[in-house]
């Protein structure tokens, strides 16, 4: 219908402000969704590409369950199992002052075994000088791009910090891999001869793994022979299993971010719903006229939906561009959080995947259409009365109110039921959250009416009859005011809910740190991730530290990261000083009995996350992977752990030493004599550190605030998304309020004709919007509390396995109301100004 389309387009363009706001709302929603998708996908890609590069063409891998693999296996694989394509690998992490911020992956290989495996080692345009590679002390080969970044050329020195020690490596060559993917995957790789790697990582005697290349045809024959050679504690697995498990670590994190990003889009939908509804209501008489002329319901529907489509398409297009820019910024935050909490990954930039662009665009258009659908359907299905009285409309909308309230209650009930269902599924949890939020949103109109009634007498006191008019206006035009109030209430409640959740989390973390950090000084080596210590403290240095005159006692900690089919976890061996008794808080209580059993080496303590993920609790057993095979150990207790969301299994050092031939200590906790000054002791200890070794020694306070820093950093992404979502919501509210007030322009303009001054008119409009803001804020408070409760007790628990205490401060709630009022007032400024400016005549003439 050419003319109808023309009419639609001109209508959109004529109401520019509305159009711009709608497009901006959609654009922001799409941008947020796309940016998170790009950021997390880029991080995942980088991890996968890196793992694939490092894994090469290997089909299978032999790994040690307890971390390290014995060296004698390689020869036997070749001579006894007939697997000639077997390559030993030693891996580790390091950093270099020449490449700040980049976590470097040391890859130690045997060039003579590499032919079938890693094409970048052999076969590149610049052939590896094997002689120099194997015999030059500290020889390293890295990608040409990284070498350029570090400002080093072949022959030059590259300083490296690994396990606390600073070494000088010698660059003996560079790799220039053919394709972009390989370049990305190799960006953080330091290729070394296996002997060099063992020296640098102080890992003589063990391998990280042995890569195998076994064709499908040979596997039936070879694998039994291979397995026959393996000791207990050594496993043959398809290549990439470990990488898959590790990638799975960030699944929950991923889902949470995506949910948050979708929130922005949902707010965008609210905005569209409002805008389309308003636009339809504005033209109701005309649309009725068109129906009278013989335009079918379907054509009306198509017309309204096509208007929405224009908005959706243009908003999505802009959103794609903004999303890419936003993604570039977010990927840094996301990557840093992954590095802080999960595993080492370096992401150079985002890869703009066309598929993600298409997905975001489709989502944007679909969301717009979905949001426009109710108004379009309603209009198309309504009777084209030639004179539809406003009062009838409002009576109808009051009926709708009752219906909406009923739906709201239904949503709440449904959501609550879902919450109660015992499931780990994040999908179900988020569906519950959506139902609850939706239900609450549907109840806001009813709540608004109620609140306004309550407030009216007060308003009359403050603003006289103007106040009454304002109040009445809110209730009478409920069909228009309700969506705006609901949108603002939901936006503020989400902000409140997230804020409360973060605050509760932080508070819980703080309390946990208070009880866990009992010692005065903590010593460890710098590691690749911020939150987990790694490496081995030099024994003589440890002795020197412990021997400091002010040190009255110490605990030692040995941590190893392991993976099994159920996921990744940390195995910890603790030698606890008697002073550190209250370190753990157990879910079931009974700390004394548990700790004495623990000291006697009778079993293991598992963290809440470990217990949650594997369904292992007090009284169950856990299979401890040791070099000699799995050992069954009873679980003595489940403790709260907020250090990470991956599980932990803790055994006493005596128990550990029974099964592991490992005397190393990863970190040291020192208890000082009464009255000792922690800061000066730390200074003394650092003086004892020989040159070339870097050791981190921190007082209790410093460690505590460093841990909180990591936490704050982690939630930066959440904070950014929360802000963006709120901006979208604000845009929606602005558009709704603007539409509302402009619709009433005629009525208000008439007041001008009666003698109301512009200033008084402005005050009226602002009082009305302010009232709406107040109502939204008041409604947002209970909504926010409910939301935060769901997020804390359901979402967080199921995503990450944490038990958090809900911490609600009056400040947060007061802030919510203030935020709502301010937002509403701000949104009301433009309409107030415009209405006051309009001459009465123009207003009376109407649209």
């Amino acid at each position: 219908m050419r003319l109808l389309t023309k009419s639609s387009v001109r209508h959109l363009l004529h109401h520019r402000a509305q159009l711009v706001l709608s497009v901006v709302g959609v654009a922001l929603g799409v941008a947020v969704v796309l940016s998170i998708d790009l950021a997390t996908q880029s991080a995942r890609n980088a991890f996968r590409v890196s793992a694939e590069m490092v894994s090469g063409r290997a089909t299978h891998q032999i790994v040690g369950d307890a971390g390290a693999l014995g060296e004698g296996l390689l020869l036997r694989l070749r001579t006894e199992a007939g697997v000639r394509a077997a390559a030993p690998v030693v891996e580790g992490f390091a950093s270099s002052p020449r490449l700040p911020g980049l976590a470097l992956r040391i890859l130690g290989i045997d060039p003579f075994s590499e032919g079938p495996f890693r094409p970048f080692v052999v076969g590149g345009p610049a052939e590896l000088d094997v002689g120099a590679f194997v015999t030059t002390p500290g020889a390293v080969v890295l990608s040409a791009a990284t070498a350029a970044r570090a400002g080093v050329v072949p022959g030059g020195a590259l300083p490296l910090l690994v396990g606390g020690r600073t070494r000088q490596l010698r660059v003996v060559g560079t790799i220039e891999p053919g394709d972009e993917l390989a370049r990305a995957g190799l960006a953080d790789v330091l290729l070394m001869d296996i002997a060099t790697a063992q020296d640098v990582l102080e890992a003589a005697g063990t391998l990280t793994r042995i890569d195998l290349l076994v064709s499908a045809a040979d596997s039936a024959d070879r694998f039994p022979r291979v397995r026959a050679l393996l000791s207990p504690g050594e496993t043959l697995a398809p290549a990439g299993t470990r990488a898959e498990v590790m990638a799975g670590m960030i699944d929950a994190f991923d889902v949470n971010l995506t949910a948050l990003s979708l929130l922005a889009l949902v707010f965008g939908m609210f905005l569209i719903y409002n805008a389309v509804t308003f636009s339809v209501v504005q033209r109701r008489a005309l649309l009725g006229m068109l129906r009278a002329l013989g335009v079918t319901r379907g054509e009306i529907l198509r017309m309204i939906l096509s208007e929405a489509t224009w908005i959706g398409v243009s908003g999505s297009a802009i959103g794609l561009a903004v999303g890419v820019v936003l993604g570039r910024g977010l990927v840094r935050l996301v990557t840093r959080t992954i590095n802080d909490l999960y595993f080492v990954v370096s992401v150079e930039g985002i890869r703009v995947d066309p598929l993600l662009l298409a997905k975001a665009a489709a989502l944007g258009v679909a969301a717009t259409l979905l949001a426009a659908l109710p108004a379009a359907l309603e209009e198309a299905s309504s009777e084209p009365r030639l004179a539809l009285l406003r009062s009838e409309r409002e009576a109808k909308s009051r009926r709708t109110l009752a219906r909406a309230a009923a739906l709201g209650v239904l949503g709440l009930v449904g959501g609550s039921l879902l919450v109660v269902v015992p499931t780990r599924s994040l999908g179900v949890s988020f569906a519950a959250l959506l139902l609850i939020v939706g239900g609450l949103a549907m109840l806001t109109p009813a709540g608004a009416v109620g609140l306004v009634h309550l407030v009216r007498p007060v308003l009359r006191q403050i603003s006289g009859s103007l106040g009454l008019v304002a109040a009445r206006g809110v209730v009478r035009s409920l069909s228009r005011t309700a969506p705006a109030i609901a949108a603002l209430a939901v936006a503020v409640s989400v902000t409140v809910g997230l804020g409360v959740m973060i605050q509760s989390f932080r508070g819980t973390l703080e309390r946990w740190l208070d009880s866990t950090l009992q010692a005065d000084v903590y010593v460890s080596l710098p590691g690749p991730t911020a939150s987990r210590a790694s490496g081995t403290l030099p024994p003589d240095l440890m002795d020197a530290f412990v021997g400091h005159p002010e040190v009255a006692g110490h605990s030692t900690y040995r941590g190893t990261d392991l993976t099994d089919e159920a996921g990744a976890f940390r195995l910890v061996a603790l030698a606890l000083d008697p002073r550190a008794e209250e370190t753990f808080q157990f879910i079931d209580g009974g700390a004394d009995a548990i700790m004495s059993a623990f000291r006697r080496g009778e079993g293991a303590l598992v963290s809440e996350q470990f217990s949650f993920r594997r369904g292992v609790g007090t009284g169950n057993v856990v299979d401890l992977p040791t070099p000699a095979g799995p050992r069954t150990i009873p679980v003595l207790g489940v403790f709260y752990d907020y250090g990470s969301d991956q599980g932990a299994v803790i055994v006493s050092r005596s128990l550990y030493d029974q099964y592991f031939d490992d005397t190393g200590v990863t970190s040291l906790a020192l208890f000082l004599a009464a009255g000792a000054d922690s800061e000066s002791v730390v200074r003394d200890l650092l003086d004892l550190v020989p040159p070339g070794l870097t050791v981190i020694a921190r007082t209790n306070d410093v460690l505590r605030s460093a841990s909180l820093d990591v936490f704050d950093r982690t939630f930066q992404v959440t904070a950014v998304l929360r802000l963006l979502a709120f901006v979208v919501a604000f845009v929606g509210v602005l558009s709704a309020l603007m539409a509302l007030e402009l619709e009433r322009a005629r009525e208000l303009g008439a007041m001008r004709a009666w003698g109301l001054e512009p200033a008084e008119l402005r005050r009226l409009v602002l009082t009305q919007t302010g009232l709406m803001g107040l109502v939204s804020g008041a409604l947002a408070v209970p909504m926010g509390i409910v939301l935060s409760a769901v997020m804390i007790f359901v979402i967080n628990k199921r995503s990450f396995g944490w038990t958090l205490d809900l911490q609600l401060g009056p400040m947060v709630l007061a802030q919510a109301v203030a935020l709502a009022v301010i937002a509403a007032l701000l949104a009301g400024l433009y309409p107030a100004w415009r209405i006051a400016r309009t001459s009465p005549a123009t207003a009376l003439r109407g649209e």
């Binding site: 020869l75 094997v130 002689g131 002390p137 002997a195 003589a204």
Partner: protein, 394 residues
């Protein structure tokens, strides 16, 4: 013996070339998936080689056994080169070659805590010629000299690369047991010392060029009775025959103008052994450093000057199916001073090793007129290098 003349020196060039190239290509030479890149030429590899820090063959020295059977790690290259002709009890003829090369990757011994640290790399070639079926099997391996993967020692006498081994079975020195297996072929042979070791050049020091140190230490056991089993396909056959062990170590560089050589090791039925090498220049002519050694039935050796004492001419050609390279197909060897005239022919034509380095090394038979004008037959091995052009591109 001519002072300062290189007797068998250039031999080292050839094999050092082989080794040197393969070490540089080492990363690609694993498990039959060699590197596709790096067009290295014979000349480039060896002329650019770094010789600083290694021991050099400066002056003759007495060989001391069993110590000298073992490795001389201070020298850059070294090999244990065994070839032989075998016959099964049923009369089936075979040829075999087992060579283990050692190449130093750097001159200093490594300072490391790692069991993988080494400055030695090993390469091995194992071939079997089945005369009856006309099939030729050739395999190669590479490994570092660490973590038990490859190595050499004099006492106990053991040279190995994974499960290809040369082990002394007596308390010291020879005899030595050879074992190697890959895919369809395997050997398990015991080699007796046979005639005493023959020192080549000037008391074992074979000079290659004018500068001191451009030389190698070189000895051979030219006639080692071999006994054991050879497995081919599903059959394991009892075999016996004669083997030849070449031992050489050096830190030397290539001479200018040489592109390859033909090396012949012949064992005549009348008890004489003849070792010849014809160094070849770009235009196909024989280089002046070509030479040979004649060993009598007691093991006394005499040096042969090219042209005057011995001539070798190829009498036919054979074309490689791989890249069309043209190899000599048969040779006429004449010792004019003794009236010897021998026709040497490969047992089967295609004994070309299609490995990281391509060359021809195969079992040959001979007939003709030998010592005292008597008719004579014999067996032996011939090695032809430099015919396949540049290093293989795959």
């Amino acid at each position: 013996m001519t002072l300062g003349r290189v007797a068998l020196g250039p031999m080292t060039l050839g094999r050092a070339t082989l080794l040197g190239m393969c070490v540089t290509l080492a990363a690609g030479c694993g498990d039959r998936a060699p590197s596709p890149s790096a067009r290295l030429s014979l000349l480039e590899t060896l002329s650019g080689a770094d010789t600083a820090g290694y021991e050099r063959a400066l002056a003759p020295r007495d060989f001391v056994f069993p110590e000298d059977h073992g490795p001389h790690l201070g020298f850059r290259t070294e090999w244990w080169y065994v070839t032989g002709n075998l016959t099964s009890t049923a009369g089936r003829d075979f040829g075999f070659q087992l060579t283990i090369f050692r190449s130093a990757l750097g001159s200093g011994a490594p300072v490391s805590t790692s069991a993988w640290a080494t400055n030695q790399a090993y390469m091995a070639h194992f071939t079997v010629t089945d005369v009856e079926t006309g099939r030729f099997y050739a395999h190669e391996r590479f490994a570092r000299g660490a973590a038990g993967l490859a190595g050499a020692s004099a006492e106990p006498l053991r040279i190995w690369l994974e499960d290809w081994t040369m082990e002394g079975i007596a308390p010291a020195g020879l005899p030595v047991r050879l074992r190697a297996a890959e895919d369809e072929v395997a050997i398990d042979l015991v080699l007796d010392a046979g005639k005493p070791a023959v020192a080549h050049g000037v008391a074992g020091l074979s000079q290659k060029g004018p500068e001191p140190g451009n030389a190698s230490f070189y000895y051979s056991h030219t006639r080692m009775p071999a006994e054991g089993t050879l497995a081919i396909g599903d059959d394991t056959l009892d075999v016996h025959g004669l083997a030849w062990l070449d031992r050489e170590w050096s830190t030397s560089a290539l001479s200018e103008g040489q592109v390859g050589w033909d090396w012949l090791a012949l064992q005549l039925d009348d008890g004489w052994d003849l070792m010849l090498y014809r160094l070849r220049r770009a235009d196909g002519s024989a280089d002046e450093w070509s030479a040979g050694t004649l060993v009598d039935h007691r093991g006394a050796a005499s040096h042969l000057t090219w042209g005057a004492d011995v001539t070798v001419e190829s009498t036919s050609t054979w074309t490689s199916p791989i890249d069309g390279a043209v190899y000599p197909g048969a040779w006429r060897v004449e010792l004019p001073g003794r009236g010897w005239s021998l026709l040497v022919e490969p047992r089967i034509p295609n004994q070309e090793l299609d490995l990281a380095f391509r060359y021809w090394e195969g079992a040959v038979g001979l007939r003709g007129v030998g010592e005292d004008g008597a008719d004579v037959t014999g067996r032996g091995y011939v090695e032809l290098t430099g015919y396949a052009g540049e290093a293989p591109e795959r």
